[in-house]
């Protein structure tokens, strides 16, 4: 723990100081809570009538929040599946020895990583899908959301694949080549399976990013959780409670996924089925509602390592490839 690096075991004076700080901290927290509750009461937001529907009225959940939650999860699942495939292809492309494959793949990855997801969503939806007569009306925003998220997260996953393969010990690739596999076979049969296993926690972490980013769909009329919370707020007249409950659902869902990522990471480390570094390292050039750093609660040092890897610009990765012996 960081505390043990920075601080000595407390002596009597330090213990008194800590006690004072504890009291001050607790008082500050209580004061903050008091202000928030006071403000809410003043605005009449603590009226039981506004909160009761969440317990008594089944319709709040069945007709509003759960519908939104399902749409959020649906968009996130579709995006993560497509992003996984797209990212795997791009990542393999970036690892190819053929420069006519490697460079375009690199350009695509760097481009889509640099453009904010919302920009892509807005452009895809208002530019194309809003007017796409051939599609059913309720599919149009879904398409825009899923495509934008796939392009962005696919590029991030491509970087994960690349750094995952690079983090394997050199001997893995060399062993594959020395038993007579072609470079492609080595990549597919030896390096990728290990790299993907090592990436698993980071992939789950990416799912959290995707889940959060689906909320951007509110801007292009995709009926996800936030949109439904808004609707709920206007039909029951409890805007603030509706948003708070929606935020709570997001927090619980994402927190659970983060915990799952940590658990998988710990399990993989214990089992040792990959020669790669198992990291929870999150891709760092992140956007939309997305986050840099990711579930840093686990293995913070690994996060740093991962950050250095993924922060690399096109130039840096090109340099790295030159340093690579290349098979």
């Amino acid at each position: 723990m960081s505390a043990s690096v920075l601080f000595d075991a407390p002596g009597p004076k330090a213990r008194t100081r800590h006690l004072i700080l504890t009291v001050i901290g607790a008082l500050l927290a209580l004061a903050g809570l008091w202000v928030v509750i006071g403000k809410m009461r003043q605005a009449g937001q603590l009226e039981p009538a506004l909160w009761e529907p969440f317990v008594t009225d089944k319709s709040v959940w069945v007709d509003y929040l759960l519908v939104g939650l399902w749409n959020t999860i649906k968009a996130a699942l579709l995006s993560v599946v497509f992003a996984g495939l797209f990212g795997l292809l791009l990542g393999m492309g970036r690892l190819s020895e053929n420069k006519w494959i490697r460079w375009p793949a690199g350009a695509v990855v760097e481009f889509f990583r640099a453009v904010p997801v919302l920009i892509m969503m807005i452009f895809l939806f208002f530019g194309y899908f809003a007017k796409a007569e051939t599609l059913p009306a309720d599919w149009r925003p879904l398409f825009a959301v899923v495509i934008a998220l796939t392009l962005y997260n696919g590029s991030v996953i491509a970087e994960l694949v690349r750094s995952g393969v690079h983090s394997l010990p050199k001997g893995q690739g060399e062993a594959g080549l020395s038993i007579g596999l072609t470079p492609q076979q080595t990549l597919r049969a030896i390096q990728l399976p290990q790299a993907l296993t090592a990436m698993l926690p980071a992939l789950i972490g990416q799912f959290v990013v995707v889940l959060k980013d689906t909320a951007l769909g509110v801007q292009i009329t995709y009926p996800e959780l936030l949109t439904w919370a808004k609707t709920l707020g206007s039909s029951y007249g409890n805007t603030v409670p509706a948003y708070l409950v929606a935020a709570l659902l997001f927090i619980l869902l994402n927190y659970a996924m983060t915990k799952l990522a940590t658990w998988v990471e710990r399990r993989l480390k214990r089992r040792g089925t990959t020669a790669g570094k198992v990291t929870n390292a999150m891709p760092t050039i992140v956007q939309g509602g997305a986050e840099p750093g990711g579930p840093a609660a686990a293995g913070t040092r690994a996060v740093v390592a991962g950050a250095e890897e993924t922060i690399e610009s096109a130039i840096e990765s090109a340099k790295e490839r030159r340093n690579d012996p290349g098979w």
Binding site: S2, A3, V5, L6, F7, H18, L21, T22, G25, K39, Q42, A43, F111, A114, V115, P116, I119, I122, F123, K131, V208, L211, K212, D213, A215, L216, V218, Q219, L226, G233, T239, V240, Y243, A246, F250, I251, N254, Y255, T258, T284, I285, V286, Q287, G288, G289, A290, E291, P292, G293, A296, T300, R301, V303, V304, A307, E308, I311, E312, S313, I315
Partner: protein, 220 residues
């Protein structure tokens, strides 16, 4: 495309995006540092507060925070920065971008601290440095070096996340793109121009950050 751009305030939108990015970066750094200090402090209550802050803000979508701020906090609770609707949205965007990214700044700083092996502190104390000497001469310099890379990525993410402000009606570059696309149909040229703005804003930062973190890296 040139004709088209004359009808829209492109520079104004780019300027708004830059303003949002700079102001929220400052806000996030200040709040994030405070939260990071709380999270590494030896006082359990402060640590708990810091941890809950990070878990709450990191797991809530930025979009939810922004929408909630304008529709919930400003309209219903009457917490407004300004009577002017656009100004109010602008300052709420700055506030929420700061609060949201502060959680990541905190984690970046904390991960920097975690790169320092415990042996460094023990060595510093064993050669007779006092607590504050070991902190200022040995531990923090290494911690800041370790935090450079994640900090830079957080700032890059922040620049791109300013687009979310368009959701609450701030006329930044994402808002402009939406306006143009709705009025004039899909303009690939405009899309690439907007994309280039972000490449121009983030690429130098990324290159600078990478070289800085390479140069400052502590050999272990």
């Amino acid at each position: 495309m040139g004709e088209l751009l004359k009808n829209y305030d492109v520079w104004g939108a780019i300027w708004t995006t830059i303003q949002l990015a700079v102001l929220s970066a400052i806000g996030a750094t200040v709040i994030g540092t405070i939260v990071a200090i709380m999270r590494v402090s030896p006082v359990a209550v402060l640590r708990g507060l810091g941890t809950s802050y990070v878990n709450i803000f990191r797991n809530t979508p930025l979009t939810v925070l922004l929408v909630m701020s304008v529709l919930g906090l400003a309209f219903i609770l009457g917490l407004s920065f300004s009577d002017d609707f656009a100004r109010n949205a602008y300052w709420w965007a700055v506030a929420m971008l700061s609060l949201y990214h502060a959680a990541f700044i905190c984690e970046a700083l904390r991960s920097g601290i975690n790169t320092v092996p415990a042996g460094q502190a023990e060595a510093a104390r064993s050669i007779g440095l006092t607590f504050s000497q070991s902190l200022s001469q040995v531990l923090l310099p290494q911690a800041f070096r370790g935090a450079v890379a994640p900090l830079v990525s957080t700032y890059i993410a922040l620049i791109k996340n300013t687009t979310v402000a368009a959701v609450i009606g701030v006329t930044d570059i994402a808002g402009l793109l939406q306006e143009i696309t709705e009025n004039e149909g899909a303009q690939l040229g405009i899309f690439f121009m907007v994309a280039m703005v972000f490449v121009v804003l983030t690429l130098p930062l990324g290159v600078f950050g990478t070289s800085l973190s390479r140069r400052l890296a502590v050999k272990r």
